[in-house]
């Protein structure tokens, strides 16, 4: 099953290598990894999407990650009430004949065209992974030339005060 792990790590050179290295060494797979500074520049936030076979495997990899000196906190937010976003850039072939159709899809997904040339468009789409994947699936038939995705980032919602 897919799990989303939100990690806080010390912002040190090499911390990503340590995490990625640990995964490959222990034979686990990373689906996506996104990293960036937090409100505290000494600390970075890593959002990791991993595929694990069972709970025991997830527990083991979490413990192994904790053994890294630079890892401060790991939260499995898969089941939490969290907002999740991913951004993708999609370069698609576009002729005068199908351009309108593509634009329609872009509109429906509330995506953006950020570059236009004679035979191609670059689309920027933001949303949950499902949304990004649906968009990609619809664009594909037009001729997908290039695709980049950031990987998922996520944040747990604050509890509503009563």
């Amino acid at each position: 099953m897919k799990h989303t792990l939100a990690m806080l790590v010390v912002n040190q050179p090499g911390v990503m290598t340590r995490i990625a290295g640990l995964y490959s060494r222990r034979g686990y797979n990373i689906e996506s990894i996104a990293v960036g500074q937090t409100e505290d520049p000494k600390i970075s936030r890593i959002t990791l999407v991993v595929e694990t076979e069972n709970e025991a495997e997830l527990e083991q990899i979490t413990k192994q990650l904790y053994k890294l000196i630079d890892v401060i906190k790991i939260n499995d937010i898969t089941k939490d009430d969290a907002v999740e976003r991913e951004l993708a850039l999609i370069k698609v072939s576009a002729t005068s004949a199908n351009r309108a159709q593509i634009l329609q899809i872009v509109e429906i997904f509330r995506a953006k065209i950020i570059d236009v040339s004679l035979d191609a468009l670059i689309i920027e789409v933001t949303g949950t992974q499902d949304k990004v994947e649906a968009m990609i699936a619809l664009i594909k038939p037009f001729g997908l030339k290039e695709l980049v995705r950031t990987g998922k980032i996520a944040m747990v919602r604050s509890a509503v005060q009563s």
């Binding site: 060494r25 904790y66 890294l68």
Partner: protein, 557 residues
Amino acid sequence: MKITGAEALLESLRREGVDVIFGYPGGAVIPVYDMIYQKDFPHILTRHEQGAVHAAAGYARSTGKPGVCLATSGPGATNLVTGLATAYMDSVPVIAFTGQVSTTMLGRDSFQEADITGITMPITKHNYLVKKVSDLPRIIKEAFHIATTGRPGPVLIDLPKDVSVGHLNYSYPKTVNLPGYKPNYEGNAKQIKAASAALAAANRPLIYAGGGVISSGAEQELLRLAEKTQIPVTTTLMGLTAFPSNHPLFLGMLGMHGTAAANYAVTNCDLLLAIGARFDDRVTGDINAFAPHAQIIHLDIDPAEIGKNVRVDIPIVGDIKNIISALLPQLSPGRYEEWLETVERWKKQYPLAYQPQEGTIMPQAVIEELCALTKGDAIICTEVGQHQMWTAQYYQFTRPRSLITSGGLGTMGFGFPAAIGAQVGNPDRLVIDLAGDGSIQMNIQELATIASYQLPVKIIILNNGYLGMVRQWQELFFEKRYSQVALTNPDFTKLAEAYGIKAYTAEKPEELRELLQAVLEHQGPALLNCLVHPEVNVLPMVPPNGPIDQMLGVGET
């Protein structure tokens, strides 16, 4: 006052209580060596960097204090790799300093540049590339803290040349600030209670102790636990010396070359109390048949060990010494008489044994003889192979930290340099490297080290003319196709003599005792080349991945 990075390094080592560095110089560490010269800092020059790192580990394993080694950049640093991996697998606190090209030259494939922090990431507990000289005191402080606390392990610090020659305002931090590193030392009280209840309910409990007991310094607590409850004890290879070998409750080592009594006890126990042990495959054999009737209690400082290889019923994470101390008052004296009788019967029925053969020295006899002569009191270092297993089986250890052996990585060439470190750390003790004829040649160059420092290390080679352990597998599982295991050896006596080391060769059983005695009593370094029977197997043996109660070399139950 401003001092250089090199001086700050030595000053920090001094404050950490380091009394010796094992090392080997080169271009990138000349500034550090210059400071060693100026400060007259104690340093042992090995003849290979692998010798230096194993020596640092031997020092650490035998004293319990961290060992320090130093190597130059590039090839010097890469020569440390085997030693770091060896230390990592056995959780040994080693601090390795490596030279590095200047920060301005990094990443350009400069002369003698190797990405040693990248290379050693998976085989160190942590590592550092120092980019600013002002960071150096903090990094050294952290390195010692990380290496020696929690589950110990090696830490490497890579020192670019401009860092060692750069200047800083020196002050050594008193504390560390590591938000991601907070080992847990106190066992959870509820879990400890659950463990004591489980022990009270058990009928056939067994203690399975590993190297963690020694790392924690919990040998006395283990002894009290066993004696109070009258629970029999087996240990792993790394756990040997954590419990007196001649104690009536001791069953010997378990696992692939464990005793029949220990392995039967594991298979038949209804409660397994694992203490600082990690269920390694050489211990468990077929994991599904391991302790099949037992509830498992697992005490370990490292949470990641819990549930890694086997399911655990009652995990307790913390320092072994603390946990046993908290557990002890909750336990009542044992009432496991019937179980103890069964275990005792196995011990009597299936003792370790071998067939002496007329006219040749049996390798096991060398160890028995050595044990008798030293009264089990020596520090025994081993290489890897059959001789290592015979040492584990036949030497009766009486003192903790007296077996220095590469358990996890199984590194040939470890024992001899480790003996150098152990001797430096224990100048008044008898230190012996029990070697194979293959292994000793992996770091044979260190003969020069013991000769030049007149370190009274004794080397005893069980010379069977083979890479014996591999030969044994080929005999048993590959129809005696002896591929690349027969050794054409040098004359070890002459070789040692070339270094100015006293040496003897023992060929006949009747001369063994006398020559062993001569070597042990010699004031300086000495070597005994024992020509032993070439084709003896280590028994019992659990075939790889088999259930551990089915052993070759053990009669029917």
